[in-house]
Symmetry: C2
Subunit: 610 residues, 2 copies
Amino acid sequence: MVIEKTYNIIILPQKKRLKAKEGENLFHFLVRQGYPVPSACGGMGTCGKCRVLLPEGARAPTESERVHLTEAELEAGWRLLCIQHIDRALVLEIPEVEESVRAKELLNKVLRIPLDSGVKKAYLELPKPGQEDQRPDTVRFQEELGEGRLTFPLQVLKKAPNLLRKGDFKVTVTWAANHVLDLEPGDTTRAQYGVAIDIGTTTLAGYLLSLNTGVELAVRSQMNPQRSFGDDVISRIKRVHEQGEAGLRELQKAVTSGINMVIKHLCQAARVSPVHIYKATVAGNPTMIHLFTGIDPSNIDHSPFIPVLRDSLILPALELGLDMNPQGQVHILPSISGYVGADITAGILYTRLHQAEGIQLFVDIGTNAEIVLGNKDRLLACSTPAGPAFEGARIKYGMGALPGAVAHVLLNDRDLKLEIIGDGVPKGICGSGLIDLGGELCKVGLINERGNFGRRVDLPISERIHQGEKGQLQFLVSDGSKPIYLTQQDVRELQLAKGAIRSGVEIALRELGVTLNEVEMVYLAGAFGSYVSRESVLRIGMLPEFPLSKIKPAGNTAGQGAKLCLLNRGKWEEIQGLTEQVEYFELSYLKDFSRVFMESMHFPRHPHLE
Amino acid sequence: MVIEKTYNIIILPQKKRLKAKEGENLFHFLVRQGYPVPSACGGMGTCGKCRVLLPEGARAPTESERVHLTEAELEAGWRLLCIQHIDRALVLEIPEVEESVRAKELLNKVLRIPLDSGVKKAYLELPKPGQEDQRPDTVRFQEELGEGRLTFPLQVLKKAPNLLRKGDFKVTVTWAANHVLDLEPGDTTRAQYGVAIDIGTTTLAGYLLSLNTGVELAVRSQMNPQRSFGDDVISRIKRVHEQGEAGLRELQKAVTSGINMVIKHLCQAARVSPVHIYKATVAGNPTMIHLFTGIDPSNIDHSPFIPVLRDSLILPALELGLDMNPQGQVHILPSISGYVGADITAGILYTRLHQAEGIQLFVDIGTNAEIVLGNKDRLLACSTPAGPAFEGARIKYGMGALPGAVAHVLLNDRDLKLEIIGDGVPKGICGSGLIDLGGELCKVGLINERGNFGRRVDLPISERIHQGEKGQLQFLVSDGSKPIYLTQQDVRELQLAKGAIRSGVEIALRELGVTLNEVEMVYLAGAFGSYVSRESVLRIGMLPEFPLSKIKPAGNTAGQGAKLCLLNRGKWEEIQGLTEQVEYFELSYLKDFSRVFMESMHFPRHPHLE
Ligand code: FES
Ligand code: FES
């Protein structure tokens, strides 16, 4: 019987007493116990945030402690928590955590799944070669590691001999599934990170996570640099049609450099070195995935809309040009069809539609809106061309969700209230503002069922309806130095956009053979889904008349799904099944699609919310 | 029950009747039946050598037949055999095979093992996408191929969409172990080749084989271009010591370009395109393997002689810069220690020492000589520094085995007979000539046991012993316009070289605890082992006194072993086991090595052959 040695850990000021096993890292121990340990580096000893007071028996300070703590603090017994190991009884005090990132909170905020990224690190003090031990360098590892036969990439083999000898045969080896990823001198076992990436047509989002603790260390989003080649996937595919190979490379380079910028910022924020990122997971729509991997998406944009790729891919970072460990494995999530991509499989994985008992609806609103409906027994998916109105395009005073955009609107008989992003002077209308305007104007009856403006003499607000160019009516949203209008044409664009989504949902319900009431939950995915007013969504009839309580903004489900795959290999396996499990149907091939679409463009006659 | 349709094939003039299954290729059918079908391209339809007369019912000639046959021949019913398929009863006549390469002979000459290279090709006529079939390009393949989930390299994914559509969805896919290697338009299933490569310190040897038939289509050897950086492994490692990374790259580039030249010649000889080479196997000593893969061999040349690599490696051709299919898989054979390399494991695999019942000895003579002794129960290996005397270095009139070299010598009381490579004027002495000279001079007693020249007044041949510089005796080998001598110092060099080998063999026998008589078979590996006179080998005492009948020149066993691994995955698995099975011992660490070595330098007192 092996008897494990334990020590008492007493935490001040509450004098809480814990028992801890010998040898464990104190940081990880406390995080597991639920203590809010402040950290920005996930316990790697670089951020200096995990200060702890050891009133008795603090060991001589390390290099890193000398950097992060003053002489006086050191003398008082302050140390960094994450470099302490449990090798004696300890009394300690963790200071109040204020603004700084709380490891515990992050652990909660993040995904409750067992940590099993597949990446492993081990610190080895290898016996040195000698007359009695002529083992080759690689064999020396394998035998000490005891993980069976390992394969080594050339890159690692090339640096191995010098590194071993310079590091006095004390090295950290990183591997995944019997494949060595890297070799470093000294002990770097705690530096083990991954990134989850969501490549949106408009926005790139990146999340840096510790693969040791599951803690999310940094988040970063920025514009997809491909936007300079066109706003939507169609315009980018068109560029490939026109420019061929060169255009494809250009678009690939743009998105890769954008992602590299995201990674750079993530690493700076968390004080992490990119070579310690060993795994990446990537979600995105099919065109984005094709362009990111440099695969020609040309056949996606015309019937029968054929992508090259659907299944997942695992490639070394080197091959994709990502600035992380060159042997780090980039996992590209699988798709379903030419328009229902890895962003949607990730979203399903996160919202668990594929395991739901009751019927659930998932809607991701974008230039193309993706709709998934069903439960564990059957899932249907379709994609519907909502067009760029929600991004502010083709709207006379339209703009993106940037400072100055009218994001929300409240309107009564005589007045209206605007919510402006950044609180400044209104400069234009963004997607959520457009939907609110539509919803509010329907509510008071200034727009009729067919989407036509009409004055109502009984309403003072009616005076905001003016005659515009060519005699068309328009609604004055803001009359600052630069007045902002919602034009009749804008309302038409809104009708097209919301009609596309509504018709997709209606047809999905019909194809699955379920009624409105049977739908238990409606997830609105994406940043837009979180920002938009659900009331307005219902008022303009973008969705059928679900009770408000069933509609749930789900945030960046693509990013969340990518994180799940990053942290847990079981989830990565699980998402593979979705490509076959989800049945895709092509809306435009349905005989009655245009009829349903036409009907769906109408605004509801009696908005049920009033 | 599936009834297979068969047809009668009648072969003229013997009227031999065979039954053949519908659909089979006629070339492969006849080769399997043992017919000597002439071919230089292995049945790929490119060499035009497989002419066959079909007196009745020849089909309209194809493109390729029009190229290789005259109008009159075509009219008479001559066709190319390898593009006929068995789809009817056939009467045919195969012309006498003269000089041209006989497929059957080659099949026999080559290795009798089941063909199982792991590379597969299939021609697919894929259903085209349409409204009813929106499957992604990659899924389309996988489902038609029915081989389960395939992984695709980026390179193939990048060319897939255009290639499919240009080729009208008729494509040939090549894969190995569920990994797609390539995609080509049309049916190229017959074009499936592999190369076995032996990287010698001095010579590169390459063999081109059809992976469809196992036929060896071409052989090529040439100088290892690394020779301009030094003759032996030590001098090349020294270059890495001196020049570091740059020297390493230079040496890697040299050997890679040499191998590429070999591949180019092989392909030209067999009229094969390099992109149809999907697999390569590589043998070579540890330093050559390190330099080929660009891995620093620096720690091999000093005690404790540690290589980086011992186990096998599989890398895409692209990564190594080999001119074959870029995704083709290069299999680098495993080694045993820093001086007993993949050339030796390949040699063991081929000679089957590891499966032998009786004790066998394997000796590969080179600048370093490798010695393996044992049987299926236990195998010992060591390496011994024979030095460069057998390559002609450090010998006053020494030279390599090139035209003009004295390769064999016969000597009696009064005269001597020389065999010159290329039959011209003798220009120097190569390794086998040196051994013969030593052996013959011992035989007649002009060299004594300690290696000293001595005149014998009773022998007229004795007059060829002259006094050279500094009064040293020397033996006149040839007195043309430029006389050639064997000097006393040359004899010393011979003693060092043969003594090194002899002492290794003696110690191996001792370590294994076996007597001379227990050794059943002695393999002399390598070109030198085939060329050298076994009698002289025994006369100078390079080997203990084995009966001549037990000594067997085994040819390029490294190349043969590499071919086995090329054609059969079972052999590749088998060779992996040798790294652990063979016990390496370091001669120089043995306390009594120098004593044994000193003794081994003596020439036998009473040569037993006389
Ligand atoms: S958590 Fe200890 S230094 Fe960052
Ligand atoms: S074997 Fe038929 S052309 Fe070469």
